[in-house]
């Protein structure tokens, strides 16, 4: 963890960590503008920016029209003109209308202008399932954006990382898509260092050390993977859990170092399996460390159906669980 200016800390959940970080960013730099649907008077649907409008004013906390392409597009223009916009997409499921502005515009502005223009922009959005959100309030979107050079994607799991990584995203001179798993918002609590600190983008964190299997994950599933690994520990099996934190750039070294030690790799993510983040990690490890492996690489990810359903059995079938993860881990360790 970089530049921790304080030794004290406060227990927060993930949503409180987002709020505290945004609040500090707004207080510290008046170029910072928050824009999105319902971010003002209501303080967004999760009340993250509640009371911001009273303190920072309507010019800095903009309740936008319901028009996602222009929420991002206007933020791009603000960033090109020297402001530091933080745009919010109310739910990741609604990001598709702004796809071109993120992929075709924001991610390419530095490149297409040969460095003459830059786009220091953060796009925050809650994503993920397990909250009975049905088709349209549950999606994982990382693989759709992961393919795009010029864009960075961050998906923290723990509140201390939320703060350090969001600070880095806000400071970053390039566009960052900041994914917040909504099931972790209130569920996950932890110590968050007081004061301003940043965590460099592109650095994974070993959340549980182990010797017999490497599990790579991000988001909600990091918590479930740790839970599963702890179950295995009681059976005398030792699993290492790596929390990627940044999906792009990705910490290749951390993955390879761990795989070379444990000789086995499992990737778990909530997004669909086909063409997902796991496919890229698997290919990378196969290219770089095939002969260090003692077992086939495996991926535990969503089945290739369009979405999880609203009915509980449909949601549970779509998603993984600590039990499903433990079962796969056990098979792999014993392989």
């Amino acid at each position: 963890m970089a530049v921790v200016s304080s030794t004290s800390s406060t227990v927060m959940n993930n949503v409180e960590a987002v709020r505290a970080t945004l609040y500090e960013a707004m207080r510290n730099d008046d170029r910072t503008i928050i824009l999105g649907e319902d971010v003002g008077a209501r303080g967004n649907v999760f009340l993250i920016t509640k009371d911001f409008i009273g303190e920072f004013g309507e010019a800095r906390v903009i309740d936008t029209p319901i028009a996602e392409a222009s929420i991002v597009g206007i933020a791009v223009g603000m960033a090109m003109e020297g402001l530091r916009p933080i745009a919010e997409i109310q739910f990741a499921d609604f990001i598709y209308p702004s796809f071109n502005q993120i992929v075709g515009e924001a991610a390419k502005i530095r490149y297409r202008s040969n460095g003459e223009y830059t786009c220091p922009l953060v796009i925050r959005t809650p994503y993920g399932g397990g909250v009975r959100g049905a088709l349209s309030h549950s999606v994982s979107i990382e693989a759709l954006f992961y393919h795009v050079p010029g864009l960075k994607i961050v998906a923290p799991s723990f509140p201390d990382d939320v703060k350090g990584l969001l600070n880095s995203a806000i400071d970053d001179p390039d566009p960052v898509l900041f994914l917040e798993h909504k099931k972790t918002y209130r569920l996950i609590k932890g110590e968050v260092p007081d004061g301003h600190y940043t965590i460099p983008l592109g650095k994974a964190r070993v959340r549980k050390a182990g010797a017999q299997l490497t599990v790579v994950s991000y988001g909600l599933y990091v918590h479930w993977a740790i839970e599963a690994a702890e179950r295995l520990e009681k059976e005398g099996l030792s699993v290492e859990v790596i929390d990627l934190r940044s999906i792009r750039p990705m910490d290749k070294t951390a993955i390879l170092d761990s795989v070379r030690k444990t000789r086995k790799l499992l990737i778990v993510h909530e997004d669909n399996k086909f063409g997902g983040v796991g496919a890229e990690i698997g290919a990378m490890v196969a290219e770089e460390a095939l002969f260090d492996l003692d077992a086939p690489i495996r991926r535990l990810a969503a089945p290739d159906v369009p979405a999880m359903g609203y009915a509980l059995p449909l949601e549970e079938e779509y998603m993984s669980s600590p039990a499903k993860m433990a079962e796969t881990m056990r098979e792999m360790v014993k392989f």
């Binding site: 503008i33 010019a59 028009a67 991002v72 223009g77 003109e81 297409r112 202008s113 750039p249 290749k252």
Partner: protein, 342 residues
């Protein structure tokens, strides 16, 4: 807006000096010369692609005269050669773009005519129609937010582009926040092969202004002075805190959409030659001669000068190298980021 009759002695100058009128005309000549050069270079096999703006000369040269250099921001589209020249880009910079040379602002990365110059206040834009309009609105928001009084953003697009969702979203946001923003539509009646009547059921684009809650007007884009007056009114309004406007200039596209297009597949030679009768370049020349603002000798000298400038720019740019292959890898992120960070 009253139509200024250029031919019957009703020439209103709208405050333009003789020199400014000559500058507008010179811009029009230069635009046409550079346009032709792009098509020529394409036919000679020297460049893979060129776009033309013939028919837009008066509109663009007039609009550029209403732009405050060093203060206003321009968010143009790919057909804005004359506008970009008029706000300060040099023919040499235009040729760097056509030849995709390393020295180009874009480093030879973008299609020709996708100019960009931070110094000139010219925003980078892509080929994605209407995608630049929210950027223009965001920049206008930044101007207003910082209290940069007296500055405004001029954004342009073609008639076809007004069908895009981002066009509507941009207009709506600009109006809600009363931003210093002017949407200038260059209505040349065609969007590649799609005519106005297939693009919209109500072809008076400027009338949409009312629906967004802003003023609008339509003007004759073949008349550079009328254009100047309309753009100046809208920009002055924006600069002084009066909010956005939607202004529409009517013109016509004389050339094919680009060197890759054959316009005879969707319109007739007769249609084009009928519209050529109103060609704004000779029309404005006649007006300036009639008013005694230029002499025939002046015009001849200007033409010669513009050709010389185009030749010099062509030769200078052509002689320069392409970007190096390894330049492909720069400016993806700040610094030397790799997709896999170790």
């Amino acid at each position: 807006m009253a139509t200024t009759d250029l031919r019957t002695g009703g020439l209103e100058r709208h405050g333009l000096s003789d020199q400014q009128l000559r500058d507008i005309f010179r811009n029009m000549l230069l635009q046409r010369q550079l346009d032709n050069r792009g098509f020529q270079l394409n036919r000679q096999g020297k460049v893979p692609f060129a776009l033309g703006s013939e028919g837009h000369e008066a509109l663009q040269a007039g609009a550029a005269m209403a732009f405050n250099r060093g203060s206003d921001i321009l968010a143009p589209y790919y057909r804005d050669l004359g506008l970009c020249l008029g706000i300060g880009l040099s023919p040499y910079e235009i040729m760097l773009s056509i030849f995709a040379r390393a020295e180009d602002h874009n480093g030879g990365r973008q299609f020709p005519n996708h100019y960009s110059s931070k110094q000139a206040g010219l925003m980078s834009f892509s080929s994605i129609l209407a995608a630049h309009l929210p950027h223009a609105v965001g920049a206008a928001y930044a101007l207003k937010y910082r209290g940069d009084d007296g500055r405004a953003v001029l954004a342009t697009c073609g008639d076809g582009t007004t069908s895009e969702g981002e066009w509507h979203e941009s207009m709506n946001f600009a109006a809600v926040h009363k931003l210093p923003f002017v949407m200038l539509v260059e209505n040349n009646e065609w969007a590649i092969s799609t005519p106005l009547e297939k693009q919209m059921a109500q072809p008076e684009i400027w009338k949409r202004a009312e629906g967004y809650g802003m003023p609008g007007c339509r003007f004759n884009g073949f008349d550079p002075i009328e254009t100047y007056a309309a753009v100046k009114n809208a920009m002055d309004r924006a600069r002084s805190g009066g909010g956005p406007s939607l202004i529409e200039g009517t013109c016509y596209r004389y050339l094919a959409h680009s060197t890759d297009d054959n316009d005879m597949t969707y319109r007739t030679r007769e249609e084009v030659s009928e519209r050529r009768k109103h060609d704004p370049v000779p029309a404005f020349e006649a007006v300036l001669l009639e008013r005694g603002i230029v002499t025939p000798q002046d015009v001849a000298a200007m033409r010669k000068d513009v050709l010389r400038e185009t030749n010099e720019a062509t030769d200078a740019a052509e002689a320069l190298p392409y970007p190096k292959a390894e330049d492909l890898y720069t400016h993806v992120y700040e610094g030397a980021w790799q997709p896999w960070q170790s």
